[in-house]
Symmetry: C2
């Protein structure tokens, strides 16, 4: 049998009416003869509302308990969707993470799917049922409920597609992946396909269409992921883009993010053990450090700067105080991370040069810079963001 | 160690502020040196709100899925309560039904607790944690989530107390069990103790203080159940009332219920097989038939009347149509079930006679009647309810 795993995001199931609409869409797919597994996110703003509730109890809710709380959002949407499908005369069954053995590892709030016991899923599909799975959640070794981080339902879907040998379709409120956020650049073009690696760079850089881990899984196991609107055949396929079908242009997309903050530590010893100690400690808390730059040593003392997600700021500062005095640590919150991404960069030289030239012409100051084989990221002033997007998008015809 | 299992109802945890208050009450108990397990209901009207959401999807939501949906209410309250306790510096952990193996049997929506795997509970208590358990829910043999029926958290609490060899305290928004609903009779007296059997009769008859199954469990295993306000030592203990401590009066309490409907089937064959068939069929759907009366056969045809809960009306009528034509089935929705209960009736004669006399003096018509060793129930006109309550309460000094 052909198995299709569809994921519907929170806005697709944001109201009872939308849930009923999604139920019809799913049924029409089932009628085409496919075995259908559906992963749902929580309805609309449910997750934010639940976080708000927890914050009314305490400013720093216990992470284990927060995951219990948040997991209810997907249980609500998946039970309602199963009801809606059954009401239309089709057999459906909802499953929570523990019921189908979605095993996770790693910390609460950002755990990773380690394994899925596909047995119950398969049985239900063989019985002809449409299976609805609560996304975003799993069970760790201790039997605790954990969540996968914002957007984690994408990863639930890809992992299930992998387990069942099925194809994966992510339905969202946009009709695919764009080279540039259309809210920032109206002429932005939709991509018909994008390579896993490009997508990974874009999602990790603030193009919040997909949960990064889902793309990693897709890449690792070569599962094509379709992203688009439901009820429409227009969308983007995330897959391995070979030279054969790769367009010749070096830059595929732009991503910007205002969600980071730069931390500067002044005047600390230029001691490789100390520095690596600091970054290991930060990494042990699963805080993603992105750009790092350091100054030339003076009297064997250096200044070091790096960016982290704003949400992790408090935790990170607490860590740093073990290594440096408070008055040596300063913040730059007025940054935007601006990135260009393209696997074409591997074979095209001079992309960075073109970018710097355009920035210079537009009087855009670069605060920090970091590159990978297929990406260049600069920290720029937030006020320069739209100017940078427009200039680069035009230059590279995005 | 002394284990105390406390249950807090929906109104006790109806708001974030109330949850914080309950957290303090629990901690003060913990500080007395007890091992504390807390069972919580869903916050305020959450269960009704979730049912409302399901009804927006369909008028007859799938029962399995409805139980998934409803089980989230208790997950929310128990995770928030655990957060609140942790925020006050005490160690706490929440558990869902599947995490501590609350195994159920029977249909969705009104399943029975069959067993509890106490291991994880005991471990957490030994670690000094305050354990918060999501009430009202369990897991059946198939691994599906089931719920225990309205008020089922009481039963969760008693079952856990049984498993752990602890005492059981049910905290609610009333300060105990009253002989008569104080809203119906202002002079009603609070009982300091009541026998399991009396309580069972009262709760099954509409005095909605306790989930019947919880009292049954308490009775079967001789677990005293304290019912009262939190932060107060005034309350009622449900336990075995021996002759020694039994008060001499024959009637302990009055219960009334407007939640039933009388069904009349006219002119069906006086065939014992047919009749028992009908009631077996009704019982197989777990619909509780209460009063039954039938007329003397005429040409070997009889009329039969019985009462059932209003909520089961549609399901019951659907069943009856297999046995009788639609035009032979009629309803009487204008009934109140009026019951007097007391284990003293066992040893006191003439209680029924007194009751009939008072009803006759007050011009209250009795439509149906049924009795047990410790109870007399009459179906009366709803408009006569308060008149009956007042007359009987005065007569028996309730």
């Amino acid at each position: 049998m052909g198995v299709v795993v569809q994921k519907y995001g929170g806005s697709s199931v944001g109201t009872v009416e939308k849930i009923k609409q999604v139920a019809k869409t799913i049924i029409s797919r089932k009628d085409q003869g496919d075995s259908v597994v559906v992963v749902v996110s929580a309805m609309g703003d449910t997750t934010d509302d639940l976080i708000g509730l927890a914050k009314q109890i305490t400013n720093s809710p216990d992470k284990r308990e927060l995951d219990v709380l948040l997991s209810t959002g997907e249980m609500i949407s998946c039970s309602l969707l199963a009801m809606a499908i059954k009401d239309l005369g089709y057999d459906a069954i909802s499953y929570t993470a523990y019921q189908i053995g979605i095993k996770t590892i790693g910390p609460y709030g950002k755990s990773l799917i380690d394994n899925i016991d596909g047995e119950k899923l398969r049985e239900s599909l063989i019985e002809g049922k449409i299976v609805i799975v609560a996304g975003f959640q799993g069970i760790n070794e201790e039997g605790d409920i954990t969540t996968l981080g914002r957007g984690g339902s994408d990863t639930s879907a890809v992992a299930i597609a992998l387990r069942l040998g099925g194809i994966c379709e992510i339905y969202t409120d946009v009709d695919g992946i764009y080279s540039v956020d259309p809210r920032q650049y109206k002429a932005a073009k939709r991509l018909s396909e994008i390579d896993y690696e490009e997508m990974l760079e874009l999602s990790s850089l603030g193009a919040q269409v997909m949960h990064s881990r889902s793309v990693e899984l897709g890449q690792k196991y070569r599962i094509p992921i379709y992203v688009g609107l439901s009820n429409s055949s227009i969308g983007t396929v995330i897959r391995e883009v070979t030279k054969m079908n790769m367009e010749s242009k070096p830059v595929t997309g732009i991503a910007t993010s205002d969600d980071d903050v730069a931390i500067n530590i002044q005047n600390i010893p230029n001691d490789i053990n100390l520095i690596s100690n600091i970054f290991e400690k930060i990494a042990s808390k699963r805080i993603n450090v992105d750009m790092i730059s350091q100054t030339t040593p003076i009297n064997n003392m250096i200044n070091i700067s790096f960016t982290i997600p704003k949400v992790d700021l408090k935790e990170c500062i607490d860590l740093l105080l073990e290594f440096a005095d408070k008055d040596k640590i300063s913040l730059d919150e007025d940054i935007t991370k601006f990135s260009i991404v393209g696997i074409g960069m591997k074979s095209t030289s001079g992309v960075a040069g073109s970018m710097f030239k355009i920035f210079a012409e537009s009087n855009i100051q670069i605060k920090m810079i970091t590159t990978s084989e297929i990406r260049i990221t600069c920290a720029i002033r937030r006020e320069d963001k739209l100017k940078a997007v427009e200039a680069i998008a035009k230059k590279f015809n995005l």
